[in-house]
């Protein structure tokens, strides 16, 4: 299946911690209305994992996240989730792609975040004191405590991401699903978001996130899933998964993979002149590891 490159000794956590399975997709074909977008997907996510999904635009990253949330049409196979004892469904914290959000909606940060607690808030339309305390806590923790009354458009990209991360976290989720949480933010904000997610994961939250950012985000995650043309092309630790062969099957383009010690760097725009294949141990690696 996946061509295994010799893995570099690293300090990342293992890709498959031995927690119990949280979500299991078995031979799943899923999509919308008439056409399956993803075919024959086998995928297991265990408690405590921090995994990334990469793949070109339209490959089905969002569809994979939505399938796990049970929000796509199932054509074949199964989605099995393992909720906590006494609960009927997995508690999900879903952070959508920024492009999918209606920023013109008359919603303040506080109102948006409280939506994540709609079930726990009971029959009342308004939040109780306990809800307001939780809200204040979570906003404070994410550094947006002073923005509770701002309309969601009147925020920076990083603040918008934190708002929707807060909505996901306020429901005390078993699993965080994040759709490109680092797109459209600057380097510093991206670093902060990844740091925050790393902290949440160390505190026990299971995370699955999609990203377009191979070098600054994907290579630093413990586990990567590559989606290309509706199939899972590879699944494993970045050092095993990120090979020219897998990248070609994922993106349909030739890319160069540079390694140095623990660091991996994918050259995404390969000039015609550069036809070098595979691992190059000597090349200096222009990369700064983030978190992890």
């Amino acid at each position: 299946m996946v061509e295994l490159a010799p893995s570099a000794p690293g300090h990342r956590p293992p890709p498959h911690p031995d927690g119990e399975p949280l979500v299991q997709l078995r031979s799943l074909s899923t999509g919308y209305e008439r056409t399956p977008v993803l075919r024959d997907v086998d995928f297991t996510l265990r408690r405590g994992e921090f995994a990334g999904v990469v793949g070109p635009s339209g490959s089905g990253k969002t569809t994979l996240l939505r399938a796990i949330a049970g929000q796509t049409r199932r054509f074949a196979g199964s989605v099995e989730t393992h909720p906590r004892p006494g609960e009927r469904a997995l508690r999900l914290g879903y952070v959508p792609q920024v492009e999918a959000i209606n920023w013109n909606f008359p919603l303040t940060v506080g109102q948006a975040v409280l939506l994540g607690r709609w079930r726990e808030m009971g029959w009342r339309p308004w939040p109780r004191r306990h809800d307001r305390e939780l809200l204040a806590n979570i906003l404070e923790r994410l550094g947006i405590g002073h923005l509770a009354d701002r309309q969601i458009r009147a925020l920076s990209g990083g603040q918008q991401q934190r708002t929707f991360l807060a909505r996901a976290l306020i429901g005390d989720p078993d699993l965080l699903l994040l759709d490109e949480p680092t797109s459209g933010v600057d380097i510093k904000t991206r670093h902060e978001i990844m740091h925050l997610l790393g902290e949440l994961n160390r505190a026990g939250t299971t995370i699955l996130m999609s990203t377009h950012d191979l070098n600054a985000v994907a290579t630093h995650l413990p586990r990567l899933v590559c989606v290309g043309e509706g199939e899972l092309v590879a699944d494993g630790a970045p050092e095993d998964v990120l090979t020219p062969e897998v990248l070609r099957r994922t993106y349909g383009a030739d890319m160069l993979v540079l390694r140095r010690g623990d660091a991996i760097y994918v050259v995404e725009h390969l000039d015609d002149a550069m036809t070098g294949e595979g691992d190059s141990e000597e090349t200096p690696v222009p990369t700064t590891p983030v978190g992890g």
Partner: protein, 290 residues
């Protein structure tokens, strides 16, 4: 001064004024969800379609409300089914269903010339012909809408904001959407006598859009839209007595005037940065105005 209180001595006038106020509140509040989901064309289509249903039930001797309700539920289910298919065809299907129903109504009217007056009411509204039975229906629908909005406030808000993501958080989106469609259909039926098929869409859209210009908070937008709708119903009918203009038209023109004032205010404020008014102006561009 006697002149100004003159209309209040007529019971039918008072009834009409109460009806217009309640319908204004109802349309303003329900319209918030219609506008925020950019469904104005559905409100418009539903009103025209239910007009057709009303004429059919009248001609065939069934009670207006029973006929309109059956037809309304049928149309709403059809529209929902059409709208769920996101491919091309959804909008067109709705357009075809509603305009055909409307045309059927018009065709029946022209064959039964003697009913013209009643159909005038269904088309343009006839507030002074409101019976206490109509008033009871309007009150009942308002109570129903209030109960649904109160009980499902969070689910409705989440579904309206982002129906895709609401599902991932466990909101039973198809049920919420179906429930809202029924409330919308009931609203249109209850408003038909007061505003007429042609003006309902305006009453659903203008107060919420005006309220959106004035605030960025959903809760405040909802309250303001209901208050603006109710106030223009009350004042509009009162004014129509003196200017001798159709009451439904007066109510909608008043709402239009309030919208222009709010717009002017928002434009003036948007020159001062940091007030958020610029964003609000951009926000309402998404809403469809018929």
């Amino acid at each position: 001064m006697g002149d100004l209180t003159e209309p209040f001595q007529f019971e039918f006038f008072v009834r009409g004024m109460v009806a217009a106020t309640l319908v204004g509140v109802l349309c303003g509040a329900v319209g918030v969800y219609v506008v925020l989901r950019s469904l104005a064309y559905i409100g418009h289509g539903l009103a025209h379609s239910i007009f057709g249903g009303a004429v059919v039930s009248f001609v065939s001797g069934i009670s207006f409300y029973i006929g309109a309700t059956l037809w309304g539920v049928f149309t709403v289910l059809l529209i929902n089914a059409a709208a769920r298919r996101r491919q091309i065809g959804g909008d067109a299907a709705i357009g075809i269903i509603t305009t055909c129903a409307f045309a059927l109504g018009v065709a029946l009217i022209s064959r039964h010339g003697q009913f013209t007056r009643d159909f005038d009411a269904a088309l343009f509204g006839e507030i002074l012909g409101i019976t206490s039975g109509d008033l009871a229906v309007i009150g009942g629908v308002l109570a129903l809408a209030a109960a649904v909005v109160f009980a499902f406030w969070k689910q409705l808000l989440f579904t309206t904001f982002d129906s895709d993501v609401a599902g991932t958080y466990g909101v039973p989106v198809p049920w919420v959407e179906a429930l809202f469609s029924l409330v919308l259909a009931a609203t249109v039926i209850a408003s038909l006598q007061v505003l007429g098929a042609t003006l309902i869409a305006a009453a659903l859209v203008i107060p919420p859009v005006t309220a959106r210009l004035l605030t960025d908070s959903f809760t405040r937008m909802f309250t303001m839209a209901a208050v603006l709708g109710g106030a223009s119903g009350l004042v509009g009918v009162y004014v129509s007595w003196f200017v001798d203009v159709s009451s439904g038209a007066t109510v909608v023109l008043l709402q239009g005037a309030l919208f222009v004032v709010a717009l002017a205010w928002a434009v003036a404020r948007s020159r001062w940065p940091g007030t958020g008014s610029g964003e609000r102006l951009a926000a309402i561009e998404g809403a469809t105005l018929d």
